[in-house]
């Protein structure tokens, strides 16, 4: 006890400075999360307040483990994230390499490249809902005007087309984050190793594969880590575009949580699902953060 008090006295200034940040996160994030952890063990329904005290143990978790719809949504979310993150990374890399090559008007190009970053996820969702709409959407209109198809293509209705459409929206929204971070890596890159490799007779591909890419890896993983902090932004996009529908065809973990909690009013079960989604987010962040550390160590070894 005495030790703690002494420690507090010694470090009173930094602790006081840190206090507001800790308190607000404690109040608005941690305490609610502890509360929701508790409710995930109850049969809590919004319409029946007294059910908050109905302890049912692990039954919510058992229920979702055996729930086929939940696992489909979970699998779709993981597939969606894997496809989206990888394509965003590849497209961002390509874009950054292109912009890096330009000498004339590079600043303007860089500004244009950031255009999608100014759009909020909800706007991105709306924008692609509008474009992919089967009666008035610009994509269908263009295909019909060009005579490529007579029937309207149901972009947001068909199972795989809808998945494709939400992926396009997500990729459009986030590719520029990768492009900008990778571009920063290209700017920070030392010239000497490349020139040395050229003198030694490496071709373009070899230079890229063995010098540029290893140097860029930490930047790519930083982008991945930053992105996986807010992968759940995809909820906004999908909620506007399809709402998880039609008939659950684009249901992601997050839209399923929202439906279970607010439409079916099953708060207890939704909280159990929410914990799975939190673990998923933490897993993605942790995974890329570890990769980042490895890539840095690897780079340091040279």
């Amino acid at each position: 006890m005495k030790k703690i008090r002494q420690c507090l006295r010694e470090h009173s200034v930094p602790l006081a400075l840190l206090a507001p940040a800790v308190i607000i996160i404690l109040l608005v994030v941690l305490l609610p999360l502890i509360f929701s952890f508790y409710t995930s063990f109850t049969n809590y329904r919004l319409i029946k307040p007294e059910t908050l005290w109905q302890w049912i143990g692990l039954r919510n978790y058992q229920r979702i483990m055996g729930d086929w719809a939940f696992w489909v949504a979970f699998g779709r979310t993981v597939l969606f994230l894997t496809i989206a993150l990888n394509l965003e990374m590849l497209l961002g890399l390509g874009l950054a390499l292109l912009v890096n090559r330009i000498t004339w008007g590079q600043r303007v190009m860089r500004t244009i490249m950031m255009f999608p970053m100014m759009f909020s996820p909800i706007l991105v969702g709306f924008q692609f809902k509008y474009m992919f709409n089967d009666t008035i959407g610009v994509v269908n209109n263009a295909l019909q005007s060009l005579g490529l198809t007579h029937e309207a293509i149901p972009f947001l209705v068909d199972r795989w087309l809808a998945f494709f459409s939400i992926s396009i929206a997500e990729i459009w929204m986030s590719t520029s984050i990768f492009a900008i971070l990778i571009l920063a890596g290209l700017f920070a890159m030392p010239r000497d190793p490349i020139e040395a490799a050229r003198v030694d007779g490496c071709n373009n591909w070899q230079v890229f594969r063995h010098i540029t890419l290893p140097f860029l890896m930490p930047f790519i993983y930083i982008a991945m880590t930053i992105r996986s902090l807010d992968v759940a932004r995809a909820y906004d996009v999908v909620d506007v575009m399809t709402g998880g529908g039609p008939a659950g065809r684009t249901e992601l973990l997050w839209t399923l949580i929202a439906r279970t909690a607010y439409d079916d009013a099953r708060m207890g079960r939704a909280n159990a699902m929410a914990y799975v989604s939190i673990l998923l987010s933490i897993f993605f962040t942790w995974f890329f953060f570890r990769k980042l550390m490895q890539a840095r160590k690897h780079l340091g070894a040279f």
Binding site: H11, P20, I102
Partner: protein, 281 residues
């Protein structure tokens, strides 16, 4: 192929790709100035016939046809909530970031990690307990309730960014000022703060844009004109049987304009802020 022609080809390829990236956004902006009738016509009208500000007049309740959605109040709510929560997140972030950058204390590394981890919680997952607690406390559908939440979700990021910028300011500067008779408080405001200002600015912009664009929490924690923000209000247009596409486009433009202006004004800081972690290695 000479190097020059190759450069020209690369330039045009890049330009073309940028055009494709911009088209979806530009299409929305163009549609905001077209009447609903023209958007709905089949076969599609490609060249806009009559562009006007009618859609904007309609959603703000002026002109001939009026949309029954109080976009004006939503705009005011968004502005109040975003600026207040940004201001709070900056003050808290400066205080916390300075503590991390300048002091040694036990549990520093793990404290930092835990603050960062709080950001990984998906908004929709956080909305469930907040919805229950806020309704018990009477904070549902109040600007204060939303401000509190937005401040908390912005703090990890502002702490992280501002910490990095303070660390770049050599601590000898502040020590020298203190030897010359400044108090630590004066040294902070006269020496360290001006040098780290760009970091504070970029953290502020990030916080503002996050609050301005947030949807998952706002859609559950707000109800009426008392606190509903623009992103949550955008969904009002789809609640009816027919979607008012032109109105939605106009509202989308209203949401995007402040973000656009802010981003262009402070682009340099934005890139500095985003690439910060990377450049430092």
């Amino acid at each position: 192929m000479s190097k020059r022609t190759k450069d020209v080809i690369i330039w045009f390829v890049t330009f073309f790709i940028m055009l494709i990236i911009c088209l979806p956004g530009l299409w929305i902006i163009l549609s905001a100035f077209r009447p609903n009738g023209e958007i709905l016509t089949k076969p599609a009208i490609w060249i806009p016939q009559n562009l006007s500000l009618d859609n904007f007049r309609a959603i703000f309740g002026m002109g001939d046809n009026v949309v029954a959605i109080p976009v004006g109040s939503y705009f005011r709510n968004s502005l109040v909530i975003s600026t207040t929560s940004t201001f709070l997140a900056i003050v808290i972030g400066m205080s916390g970031g300075y503590a991390f950058a300048r002091f040694q204390f036990p549990g520093k590394a793990s404290a930092f990690l835990w603050i960062m981890l709080s950001r990984t919680v998906p908004g929709i997952a956080l909305s469930l307990p907040l919805f229950i607690i806020w309704s018990r406390l009477g904070l549902i559908d109040t600007p204060f309730g939303v401000i509190l939440v937005y401040t908390a979700i912005n703090v990890p990021f502002t702490v992280w960014l501002i910490e990095g910028f303070f660390r770049q300011v050599p601590h000898e500067l502040s020590e020298a000022a203190q030897i010359d008779g400044c108090t630590r408080w004066q040294a902070f405001w006269k020496i360290e703060f001006p040098l780290a200002k760009s970091g504070v600015v970029s953290a502020g912009i990030f916080a503002f844009l996050t609050s301005w664009n947030e949807y998952a929490l706002a859609s559950q924690l707000t109800r009426s004109t008392d606190s509903k923000t623009l992103p949550a209000g955008l969904m009002d247009f789809t609640a009816q049987f027919t979607i008012d596409w032109a109105g939605m486009c106009a509202m989308a433009v209203i949401i995007i304009i402040p973000a656009l202006i802010l981003t262009f004004l402070v682009q340099k800081h934005l890139i500095a802020g985003l690439t910060f972690g990377g450049v430092k290695g």
